[in-house]
Protein backbone atom coordinates (compact mmCIF):
# COMPACT_ATOMS: atom_id res chain seq x y z
CA UNK A 1 0.00 0.00 0.00
CA UNK A 2 1.37 3.39 -0.89
CA UNK A 3 2.15 5.49 2.16
CA UNK A 4 0.01 8.59 2.65
CA UNK A 5 1.43 11.80 1.24
CA UNK A 6 3.33 13.78 3.85
CA UNK A 7 1.59 16.67 5.55
CA UNK A 8 2.43 20.01 3.99
CA UNK A 9 3.18 23.25 5.74
CA UNK A 10 1.26 25.45 5.54
CA UNK A 11 -1.99 23.47 5.50
CA UNK A 12 -5.02 22.74 7.56
CA UNK A 13 -3.75 19.19 8.00
CA UNK A 14 -0.58 20.54 9.60
CA UNK A 15 -2.48 22.38 12.32
CA UNK A 16 -4.88 19.48 12.76
CA UNK A 17 -1.87 17.27 13.35
CA UNK A 18 -0.75 19.69 16.05
CA UNK A 19 -4.22 19.41 17.56
CA UNK A 20 -3.93 15.61 17.57
CA UNK A 21 -0.52 15.84 19.22
CA UNK A 22 -2.01 18.19 21.81
CA UNK A 23 -4.66 15.62 22.68
CA UNK A 24 -1.96 13.05 23.23
CA UNK A 25 -0.31 15.46 25.68
CA UNK A 26 -3.49 16.08 27.63
CA UNK A 27 -1.74 15.79 30.99
CA UNK A 28 0.78 18.48 30.09
CA UNK A 29 -1.77 20.89 28.69
CA UNK A 30 -4.09 20.31 31.65
CA UNK A 31 -1.29 21.36 33.95
CA UNK A 32 -0.85 24.55 31.99
CA UNK A 33 -4.51 25.30 32.58
CA UNK A 34 -7.60 26.48 30.74
CA UNK A 35 -6.79 27.65 27.27
CA UNK A 36 -9.67 29.58 25.71
CA UNK A 37 -8.95 31.56 22.61
CA UNK A 38 -9.40 31.60 18.87
CA UNK A 39 -6.52 33.04 16.96
CA UNK A 40 -5.49 33.29 13.37
CA UNK A 41 -2.30 32.39 11.59
CA UNK A 42 -1.46 34.13 8.32
CA UNK A 43 1.51 32.96 6.27
CA UNK A 44 2.44 35.19 3.35
CA UNK A 45 4.39 33.61 0.52
CA UNK A 46 7.86 35.09 0.08
CA UNK A 47 7.19 35.76 -3.58
CA UNK A 48 3.92 37.64 -2.98
CA UNK A 49 0.56 36.10 -3.71
CA UNK A 50 -2.32 35.14 -1.49
CA UNK A 51 -1.47 34.32 2.11
CA UNK A 52 -2.46 31.02 3.67
CA UNK A 53 -4.79 31.66 6.57
CA UNK A 54 -5.98 29.42 9.35
CA UNK A 55 -8.07 29.90 12.45
CA UNK A 56 -7.31 27.80 15.50
CA UNK A 57 -9.91 27.49 18.20
CA UNK A 58 -8.88 26.34 21.67
CA UNK A 59 -11.26 25.43 24.45
CA UNK A 60 -10.43 24.14 27.90
CA UNK A 61 -7.36 22.01 27.13
CA UNK A 62 -7.82 21.17 23.44
CA UNK A 63 -7.55 22.56 19.97
CA UNK A 64 -11.18 21.94 19.09
CA UNK A 65 -11.25 23.29 15.56
CA UNK A 66 -8.96 24.24 12.75
CA UNK A 67 -10.48 26.32 9.97
CA UNK A 68 -9.02 27.38 6.70
CA UNK A 69 -9.42 31.11 6.04
CA UNK A 70 -10.18 33.93 8.44
CA UNK A 71 -13.20 35.48 6.74
CA UNK A 72 -16.07 35.59 9.17
CA UNK A 73 -13.97 34.25 12.05
CA UNK A 74 -13.97 36.22 15.27
CA UNK A 75 -10.33 35.85 16.10
CA UNK A 76 -8.89 37.31 19.28
CA UNK A 77 -5.73 38.11 17.33
CA UNK A 78 -3.92 37.09 14.17
CA UNK A 79 -0.22 36.31 13.98
CA UNK A 80 1.06 37.06 10.52
CA UNK A 81 4.36 37.04 8.77
CA UNK A 82 6.29 35.93 5.72
CA UNK A 83 6.79 32.26 5.04
CA UNK A 84 10.51 32.60 5.66
CA UNK A 85 9.98 33.74 9.23
CA UNK A 86 7.55 30.93 9.96
CA UNK A 87 9.88 28.40 8.39
CA UNK A 88 12.82 29.57 10.47
CA UNK A 89 10.74 29.18 13.61
CA UNK A 90 9.47 25.71 12.74
CA UNK A 91 12.92 24.59 11.56
CA UNK A 92 14.34 25.57 14.95
CA UNK A 93 11.56 23.78 16.78
CA UNK A 94 12.13 20.65 14.73
CA UNK A 95 15.87 20.70 15.26
CA UNK A 96 15.80 21.39 18.98
CA UNK A 97 12.57 19.78 20.05
CA UNK A 98 11.11 23.15 21.02
CA UNK A 99 11.71 26.79 20.21
CA UNK A 100 14.79 28.39 21.68
CA UNK A 101 14.48 31.87 23.13
CA UNK A 102 15.41 33.52 19.83
CA UNK A 103 12.62 31.75 17.98
CA UNK A 104 9.86 31.75 20.57
CA UNK A 105 6.61 33.32 19.42
CA UNK A 106 6.97 36.00 22.06
CA UNK A 107 10.41 37.00 20.76
CA UNK A 108 9.40 36.92 17.13
CA UNK A 109 6.34 39.07 17.70
CA UNK A 110 7.90 41.35 20.28
CA UNK A 111 8.27 44.35 18.04
CA UNK A 112 6.58 42.89 15.03
CA UNK A 113 9.79 42.64 13.07
CA UNK A 114 9.57 38.99 12.11
CA UNK A 115 5.98 38.20 12.94
CA UNK A 116 3.27 40.73 13.66
CA UNK A 117 0.17 40.55 15.79
CA UNK A 118 -3.04 42.12 14.50
CA UNK A 119 -6.17 42.60 16.59
CA UNK A 120 -9.31 44.71 16.83
CA UNK A 121 -9.76 44.63 20.57
CA UNK A 122 -6.96 44.91 23.14
CA UNK A 123 -8.85 42.31 25.18
CA UNK A 124 -8.34 39.83 22.39
CA UNK A 125 -4.72 40.84 22.05
CA UNK A 126 -4.16 40.29 25.76
CA UNK A 127 -5.13 36.64 25.28
CA UNK A 128 -1.82 36.20 23.49
CA UNK A 129 -0.25 37.06 26.83
CA UNK A 130 -2.70 35.19 29.04
CA UNK A 131 -2.17 31.91 27.21
CA UNK A 132 1.40 32.47 26.07
CA UNK A 133 2.95 29.26 27.38
CA UNK A 134 0.15 27.08 26.06
CA UNK A 135 0.46 28.68 22.64
CA UNK A 136 4.20 28.14 22.63
CA UNK A 137 3.94 24.52 23.67
CA UNK A 138 1.28 23.97 21.02
CA UNK A 139 3.66 25.23 18.35
CA UNK A 140 6.48 23.19 19.89
CA UNK A 141 4.48 20.04 19.16
CA UNK A 142 5.45 20.50 15.50
CA UNK A 143 8.77 18.91 16.47
CA UNK A 144 6.94 15.58 16.38
CA UNK A 145 5.19 16.07 13.06
CA UNK A 146 6.58 14.77 9.78
CA UNK A 147 5.88 17.45 7.19
CA UNK A 148 7.26 19.05 4.06
CA UNK A 149 7.47 22.61 2.80
CA UNK A 150 6.04 23.67 -0.57
CA UNK A 151 9.39 23.12 -2.26
CA UNK A 152 9.41 19.52 -1.04
CA UNK A 153 12.13 20.07 1.53
CA UNK A 154 11.76 18.94 5.10
CA UNK A 155 12.67 20.68 8.36
CA UNK A 156 16.06 19.70 9.79
CA UNK A 157 16.39 16.48 11.74
CA UNK A 158 16.54 16.65 15.53
CA UNK A 159 19.95 17.62 16.86
CA UNK A 160 20.21 15.43 19.92
CA UNK A 161 23.62 16.76 20.82
CA UNK A 162 22.41 20.32 21.10
CA UNK A 163 20.01 21.42 23.82
CA UNK A 164 18.03 24.59 24.17
CA UNK A 165 19.70 25.41 27.47
CA UNK A 166 22.63 24.12 29.46
CA UNK A 167 21.91 20.92 31.39
Amino acid sequence: MPSPPPIRFPSRAFFEALGDAMRAERERFSRLGFFDTTFGVRISPDDGGEPAEFALRFEVFDCVRVMEGLAGVEADFVVEGPFGAWREMFDTIHALGAADTAQSLNTLTHFGERLRVRYDDPDGHDKLYRFAESIQEFLDLSARIDYVYPDGSRPPARRDDLRRSAP
Partner: protein, 365 residues
Amino acid sequence: MAYYAEKNFFEDEQLIELVTSILSGNLTLEWYQAQGARVRARPADPRRGLTYEDCNLGPYGYDAIPELIRNRYSMAARGSVLVTKLPDLGYTVNRRSDVWSDNVVTLYEEAKSRRWAPAVDVPWTELAARADPVREAAMAQVCTFLEEVALVAMEMPSKWVFSINQEFLELKSFLCAQMIDEARHVEACRKRALASGQGLGRASASAEQALKELLSAETYPEASLGMNLLLGGFVVAMYRAIAALAGMRADRLLGTLAMQDVARSVAYGVGHMRYHLAHQPAKAVALGEYLDRTEHVVLGIAGSPEFLEPLVLLAAGSLDRERLAAGSRFARRWFRAALEEYFERAAAAGLGDRRERSRLPRLDS
Protein backbone atom coordinates in the same frame (compact mmCIF):
# COMPACT_ATOMS: atom_id res chain seq x y z
CA MET B 1 -10.14 44.47 71.07
CA ALA B 2 -13.32 46.49 71.04
CA TYR B 3 -16.01 44.02 70.09
CA TYR B 4 -17.28 41.75 72.80
CA ALA B 5 -20.08 39.18 72.67
CA GLU B 6 -23.48 40.39 73.82
CA LYS B 7 -23.26 38.21 76.90
CA ASN B 8 -21.11 35.88 78.88
CA PHE B 9 -22.36 32.65 77.37
CA PHE B 10 -20.85 30.54 80.15
CA GLU B 11 -23.53 31.96 82.42
CA ASP B 12 -26.32 31.72 79.89
CA GLU B 13 -28.80 29.24 81.34
CA GLN B 14 -30.95 29.38 78.23
CA LEU B 15 -28.01 28.28 76.10
CA ILE B 16 -27.06 25.45 78.41
CA GLU B 17 -30.65 24.23 78.45
CA LEU B 18 -30.86 24.39 74.67
CA VAL B 19 -27.67 22.42 74.09
CA THR B 20 -28.55 19.89 76.78
CA SER B 21 -31.93 19.38 75.17
CA ILE B 22 -30.47 18.91 71.70
CA LEU B 23 -27.88 16.48 72.98
CA SER B 24 -30.69 14.55 74.60
CA GLY B 25 -32.13 14.00 71.17
CA ASN B 26 -34.64 16.87 70.99
CA LEU B 27 -33.66 18.61 67.78
CA THR B 28 -35.29 21.97 67.10
CA LEU B 29 -35.03 21.56 63.29
CA GLU B 30 -35.73 25.30 62.87
CA TRP B 31 -33.28 25.44 59.97
CA TYR B 32 -34.77 22.34 58.34
CA GLN B 33 -37.76 24.33 57.11
CA ALA B 34 -35.63 27.05 55.50
CA GLN B 35 -37.21 27.92 52.18
CA GLY B 36 -34.25 28.56 49.96
CA ALA B 37 -34.34 28.28 46.17
CA ARG B 38 -33.89 24.68 45.11
CA VAL B 39 -31.31 24.33 42.36
CA ARG B 40 -28.96 21.72 41.04
CA ALA B 41 -25.85 23.19 39.49
CA ARG B 42 -24.26 21.01 36.84
CA PRO B 43 -21.13 21.37 34.74
CA ALA B 44 -22.07 22.70 31.32
CA ASP B 45 -18.79 21.27 30.04
CA PRO B 46 -17.54 18.20 31.92
CA ARG B 47 -13.97 18.91 30.79
CA ARG B 48 -14.11 22.27 32.53
CA GLY B 49 -15.65 21.01 35.74
CA LEU B 50 -18.19 22.92 37.81
CA THR B 51 -17.48 26.60 37.31
CA TYR B 52 -18.93 29.66 39.00
CA GLU B 53 -20.69 30.30 35.72
CA ASP B 54 -22.50 26.97 36.13
CA CYS B 55 -23.59 28.21 39.57
CA ASN B 56 -24.99 31.45 38.20
CA LEU B 57 -28.51 30.29 39.00
CA GLY B 58 -31.43 32.22 40.36
CA PRO B 59 -30.83 34.11 43.57
CA TYR B 60 -27.48 32.39 44.02
CA GLY B 61 -26.00 33.73 40.83
CA TYR B 62 -23.84 36.77 40.35
CA ASP B 63 -26.34 38.07 37.83
CA ALA B 64 -28.69 38.53 40.76
CA ILE B 65 -26.38 40.90 42.61
CA PRO B 66 -28.02 44.32 42.69
CA GLU B 67 -26.15 47.52 41.98
CA LEU B 68 -26.41 48.71 45.57
CA ILE B 69 -26.07 46.29 48.47
CA ARG B 70 -28.27 47.38 51.31
CA ASN B 71 -28.94 45.40 54.47
CA ARG B 72 -26.41 42.73 53.68
CA TYR B 73 -23.34 43.49 55.67
CA SER B 74 -22.57 40.07 57.06
CA MET B 75 -20.81 37.12 55.45
CA ALA B 76 -24.06 35.21 54.95
CA ALA B 77 -23.66 33.33 51.70
CA ARG B 78 -25.40 35.02 48.78
CA GLY B 79 -28.79 33.45 48.29
CA SER B 80 -28.90 31.74 51.68
CA VAL B 81 -31.91 32.24 53.92
CA LEU B 82 -31.20 35.23 56.08
CA VAL B 83 -32.18 35.53 59.70
CA THR B 84 -32.67 38.58 61.88
CA LYS B 85 -29.84 39.97 63.93
CA LEU B 86 -27.02 39.39 61.49
CA PRO B 87 -24.16 41.68 62.44
CA ASP B 88 -22.71 44.49 60.40
CA LEU B 89 -19.14 43.49 59.59
CA GLY B 90 -18.22 46.98 58.44
CA TYR B 91 -17.95 46.68 54.66
CA THR B 92 -17.48 50.02 52.98
CA VAL B 93 -17.49 48.95 49.33
CA ASN B 94 -21.07 48.03 48.58
CA ARG B 95 -21.70 49.16 45.03
CA ARG B 96 -21.44 46.54 42.33
CA SER B 97 -20.18 48.78 39.56
CA ASP B 98 -17.36 49.97 41.80
CA VAL B 99 -15.77 46.52 41.65
CA TRP B 100 -17.43 44.26 39.11
CA SER B 101 -16.30 43.18 35.68
CA ASP B 102 -18.11 40.89 33.26
CA ASN B 103 -14.94 38.84 32.83
CA VAL B 104 -14.07 38.42 36.51
CA VAL B 105 -15.60 34.96 36.86
CA THR B 106 -13.78 33.67 33.78
CA LEU B 107 -10.53 35.21 34.95
CA TYR B 108 -10.85 33.63 38.40
CA GLU B 109 -11.36 30.18 36.90
CA GLU B 110 -8.46 30.80 34.53
CA ALA B 111 -6.19 31.94 37.34
CA LYS B 112 -6.78 28.75 39.28
CA SER B 113 -6.33 26.59 36.28
CA ARG B 114 -3.13 28.30 35.10
CA ARG B 115 -1.31 28.33 38.43
CA TRP B 116 2.38 27.49 38.65
CA ALA B 117 4.93 27.10 41.43
CA PRO B 118 8.28 28.86 40.94
CA ALA B 119 10.19 26.41 43.11
CA VAL B 120 9.55 23.55 40.72
CA ASP B 121 8.28 25.03 37.46
CA VAL B 122 11.39 27.07 36.69
CA PRO B 123 14.36 24.86 35.82
CA TRP B 124 16.75 26.46 38.32
CA THR B 125 19.52 23.93 37.76
CA GLU B 126 19.85 25.27 34.20
CA LEU B 127 21.18 28.53 35.59
CA ALA B 128 24.40 27.03 36.86
CA ALA B 129 26.76 26.96 33.94
CA ARG B 130 26.67 30.06 31.72
CA ALA B 131 27.09 32.88 34.15
CA ASP B 132 27.99 35.92 32.08
CA PRO B 133 28.53 38.39 34.94
CA VAL B 134 27.31 41.47 33.09
CA ARG B 135 24.14 39.75 31.98
CA GLU B 136 23.60 38.23 35.38
CA ALA B 137 24.11 41.60 37.06
CA ALA B 138 21.44 43.07 34.81
CA MET B 139 19.11 40.17 35.47
CA ALA B 140 19.65 40.43 39.22
CA GLN B 141 18.88 44.14 39.13
CA VAL B 142 15.75 43.80 37.02
CA CYS B 143 14.51 40.99 39.27
CA THR B 144 15.17 43.08 42.39
CA PHE B 145 13.05 45.80 40.81
CA LEU B 146 10.29 43.36 39.84
CA GLU B 147 10.26 41.96 43.35
CA GLU B 148 9.55 45.48 44.62
CA VAL B 149 6.76 45.92 42.11
CA ALA B 150 5.22 42.57 42.99
CA LEU B 151 5.30 43.33 46.72
CA VAL B 152 3.16 46.39 46.08
CA ALA B 153 0.94 44.70 43.52
CA MET B 154 0.21 42.01 46.10
CA GLU B 155 -0.84 44.62 48.64
CA MET B 156 -3.34 46.39 46.45
CA PRO B 157 -5.96 43.63 46.47
CA SER B 158 -5.18 42.74 50.08
CA LYS B 159 -5.81 46.31 51.12
CA TRP B 160 -9.31 46.31 49.66
CA VAL B 161 -10.61 42.78 50.08
CA PHE B 162 -11.36 43.29 53.78
CA SER B 163 -13.65 46.22 52.96
CA ILE B 164 -15.52 44.74 50.00
CA ASN B 165 -18.97 43.30 50.62
CA GLN B 166 -19.04 39.52 50.68
CA GLU B 167 -21.93 39.51 48.17
CA PHE B 168 -19.23 40.10 45.55
CA LEU B 169 -17.82 36.66 46.26
CA GLU B 170 -16.42 35.97 42.80
CA LEU B 171 -14.69 39.35 42.67
CA LYS B 172 -13.17 38.87 46.11
CA SER B 173 -12.01 35.43 45.01
CA PHE B 174 -10.31 36.99 42.00
CA LEU B 175 -8.55 39.44 44.33
CA CYS B 176 -7.25 36.41 46.23
CA ALA B 177 -5.99 35.00 42.95
CA GLN B 178 -4.20 38.28 42.31
CA MET B 179 -2.59 38.10 45.73
CA ILE B 180 -1.22 34.63 45.16
CA ASP B 181 -0.10 35.55 41.63
CA GLU B 182 1.95 38.44 42.99
CA ALA B 183 3.29 36.36 45.87
CA ARG B 184 4.53 34.02 43.18
CA HIS B 185 6.28 36.90 41.41
CA VAL B 186 7.90 38.13 44.63
CA GLU B 187 9.18 34.61 45.08
CA ALA B 188 10.28 33.96 41.50
CA CYS B 189 12.07 37.28 41.08
CA ARG B 190 13.85 37.05 44.43
CA LYS B 191 14.96 33.50 43.68
CA ARG B 192 16.25 34.50 40.27
CA ALA B 193 18.22 37.41 41.68
CA LEU B 194 19.75 35.33 44.45
CA ALA B 195 20.59 32.53 42.03
CA SER B 196 22.47 34.94 39.76
CA GLY B 197 25.74 35.04 41.68
CA GLN B 198 25.28 38.79 42.03
CA GLY B 199 22.93 39.05 44.98
CA LEU B 200 20.12 41.55 45.05
CA GLY B 201 20.49 44.84 43.28
CA ARG B 202 19.45 48.26 44.42
CA ALA B 203 15.94 49.23 45.46
CA SER B 204 14.46 52.01 43.36
CA ALA B 205 13.51 55.25 45.07
CA SER B 206 11.62 56.58 42.05
CA ALA B 207 9.73 53.34 41.50
CA GLU B 208 8.78 53.05 45.16
CA GLN B 209 7.59 56.63 45.35
CA ALA B 210 5.47 56.00 42.29
CA LEU B 211 4.20 52.66 43.57
CA LYS B 212 3.21 54.20 46.88
CA GLU B 213 1.22 56.82 45.02
CA LEU B 214 -0.66 54.09 43.15
CA LEU B 215 -1.17 51.99 46.25
CA SER B 216 -2.66 54.86 48.20
CA ALA B 217 -5.46 55.56 45.73
CA GLU B 218 -8.51 56.77 47.57
CA THR B 219 -11.14 54.65 45.90
CA TYR B 220 -11.20 51.13 44.60
CA PRO B 221 -11.93 52.19 41.00
CA GLU B 222 -8.89 54.47 41.05
CA ALA B 223 -6.76 51.78 42.67
CA SER B 224 -7.75 49.23 40.04
CA LEU B 225 -7.33 51.68 37.19
CA GLY B 226 -3.89 52.63 38.41
CA MET B 227 -2.57 49.21 39.31
CA ASN B 228 -4.29 46.91 36.86
CA LEU B 229 -4.74 48.97 33.72
CA LEU B 230 -2.07 51.66 33.90
CA LEU B 231 0.79 49.87 35.64
CA GLY B 232 -0.28 46.32 34.80
CA GLY B 233 0.14 46.80 31.08
CA PHE B 234 3.70 48.00 31.56
CA VAL B 235 4.51 45.09 33.85
CA VAL B 236 3.19 42.67 31.21
CA ALA B 237 5.57 44.37 28.80
CA MET B 238 8.44 44.01 31.29
CA TYR B 239 7.97 40.28 31.71
CA ARG B 240 7.47 39.96 28.00
CA ALA B 241 10.80 41.65 27.39
CA ILE B 242 12.55 39.38 29.88
CA ALA B 243 11.19 36.37 28.04
CA ALA B 244 12.15 37.78 24.66
CA LEU B 245 15.67 38.66 25.77
CA ALA B 246 16.19 35.48 27.74
CA GLY B 247 19.47 33.73 27.25
CA MET B 248 18.13 30.50 28.62
CA ARG B 249 14.91 28.60 29.01
CA ALA B 250 14.64 29.26 32.74
CA ASP B 251 14.38 32.99 32.12
CA ARG B 252 12.04 32.56 29.18
CA LEU B 253 9.72 30.48 31.36
CA LEU B 254 9.92 32.85 34.30
CA GLY B 255 9.08 35.79 32.06
CA THR B 256 6.31 34.00 30.19
CA LEU B 257 4.57 32.46 33.18
CA ALA B 258 4.67 35.73 35.13
CA MET B 259 3.41 37.60 32.08
CA GLN B 260 0.39 35.29 31.89
CA ASP B 261 -0.55 36.11 35.46
CA VAL B 262 -0.24 39.88 35.05
CA ALA B 263 -2.16 39.78 31.77
CA ARG B 264 -5.15 38.48 33.70
CA SER B 265 -4.98 41.46 36.04
CA VAL B 266 -4.81 43.75 33.04
CA ALA B 267 -7.83 42.04 31.49
CA TYR B 268 -9.73 42.54 34.72
CA GLY B 269 -8.59 46.17 34.86
CA VAL B 270 -9.96 46.87 31.41
CA GLY B 271 -13.16 44.95 32.05
CA HIS B 272 -13.69 46.61 35.39
CA MET B 273 -13.32 50.10 33.92
CA ARG B 274 -15.69 49.23 31.13
CA TYR B 275 -18.32 48.02 33.60
CA HIS B 276 -17.76 50.91 35.98
CA LEU B 277 -18.13 53.54 33.28
CA ALA B 278 -21.10 51.81 31.68
CA HIS B 279 -22.94 52.10 35.00
CA GLN B 280 -21.44 55.33 36.31
CA PRO B 281 -20.64 57.30 33.16
CA ALA B 282 -20.20 60.53 35.08
CA LYS B 283 -17.09 59.04 36.69
CA ALA B 284 -15.22 59.25 33.39
CA VAL B 285 -14.34 62.87 34.10
CA ALA B 286 -12.87 62.17 37.53
CA LEU B 287 -11.03 59.11 36.33
CA GLY B 288 -9.64 61.05 33.40
CA GLU B 289 -8.33 63.61 35.84
CA TYR B 290 -6.93 60.82 38.00
CA LEU B 291 -4.97 59.58 35.03
CA ASP B 292 -3.88 63.11 34.12
CA ARG B 293 -2.16 63.51 37.47
CA THR B 294 -1.14 59.86 37.97
CA GLU B 295 0.24 58.70 34.64
CA HIS B 296 3.59 60.23 35.54
CA VAL B 297 4.16 57.23 37.83
CA VAL B 298 4.81 55.15 34.72
CA LEU B 299 7.94 57.16 34.15
CA GLY B 300 8.99 56.75 37.76
CA ILE B 301 8.59 53.00 37.47
CA ALA B 302 9.34 51.93 33.90
CA GLY B 303 11.74 54.84 33.50
CA SER B 304 13.59 54.19 36.73
CA PRO B 305 17.30 53.59 36.20
CA GLU B 306 16.96 50.39 38.23
CA PHE B 307 14.74 48.97 35.52
CA LEU B 308 15.65 50.78 32.35
CA GLU B 309 19.42 50.45 32.49
CA PRO B 310 19.41 46.69 33.05
CA LEU B 311 16.84 46.39 30.27
CA VAL B 312 19.21 48.18 27.92
CA LEU B 313 22.03 45.95 29.12
CA LEU B 314 20.05 42.75 28.62
CA ALA B 315 19.16 43.85 25.11
CA ALA B 316 22.72 44.93 24.44
CA GLY B 317 24.33 41.81 25.80
CA SER B 318 27.49 43.66 26.76
CA LEU B 319 28.93 47.03 27.81
CA ASP B 320 30.36 47.65 24.38
CA ARG B 321 29.35 51.12 23.20
CA GLU B 322 27.78 50.01 19.96
CA ARG B 323 25.93 47.21 21.68
CA LEU B 324 24.62 49.68 24.24
CA ALA B 325 23.34 51.85 21.42
CA ALA B 326 21.49 48.84 20.03
CA GLY B 327 20.20 48.05 23.50
CA SER B 328 18.87 51.55 23.94
CA ARG B 329 17.07 51.31 20.60
CA PHE B 330 15.39 48.20 21.94
CA ALA B 331 14.42 50.08 25.12
CA ARG B 332 12.93 52.97 23.11
CA ARG B 333 10.86 50.63 21.01
CA TRP B 334 9.84 48.74 24.09
CA PHE B 335 8.60 51.86 25.86
CA ARG B 336 6.81 53.13 22.79
CA ALA B 337 5.05 49.79 22.24
CA ALA B 338 4.03 49.47 25.90
CA LEU B 339 2.71 53.03 25.88
CA GLU B 340 0.71 52.43 22.72
CA GLU B 341 -0.83 49.29 24.22
CA TYR B 342 -1.79 51.30 27.30
CA PHE B 343 -3.57 53.90 25.19
CA GLU B 344 -5.41 51.15 23.32
CA ARG B 345 -6.57 49.55 26.55
CA ALA B 346 -7.61 52.88 28.05
CA ALA B 347 -9.71 53.61 24.97
CA ALA B 348 -11.22 50.14 25.00
CA ALA B 349 -12.12 50.64 28.66
CA GLY B 350 -14.12 53.77 27.83
CA LEU B 351 -11.58 56.38 28.89
CA GLY B 352 -11.29 57.86 25.45
CA ASP B 353 -8.22 58.50 23.38
CA ARG B 354 -5.58 59.69 25.83
CA ARG B 355 -2.79 60.16 23.31
CA GLU B 356 -3.29 63.90 22.99
CA ARG B 357 -4.11 64.42 26.63
CA SER B 358 -1.37 62.39 28.26
CA ARG B 359 2.04 63.83 29.11
CA LEU B 360 3.76 60.50 28.48
CA PRO B 361 4.15 60.72 24.69
CA ARG B 362 6.24 63.89 25.17
CA LEU B 363 8.99 61.70 26.57
CA ASP B 364 9.49 60.03 23.23
CA SER B 365 11.54 62.78 21.63
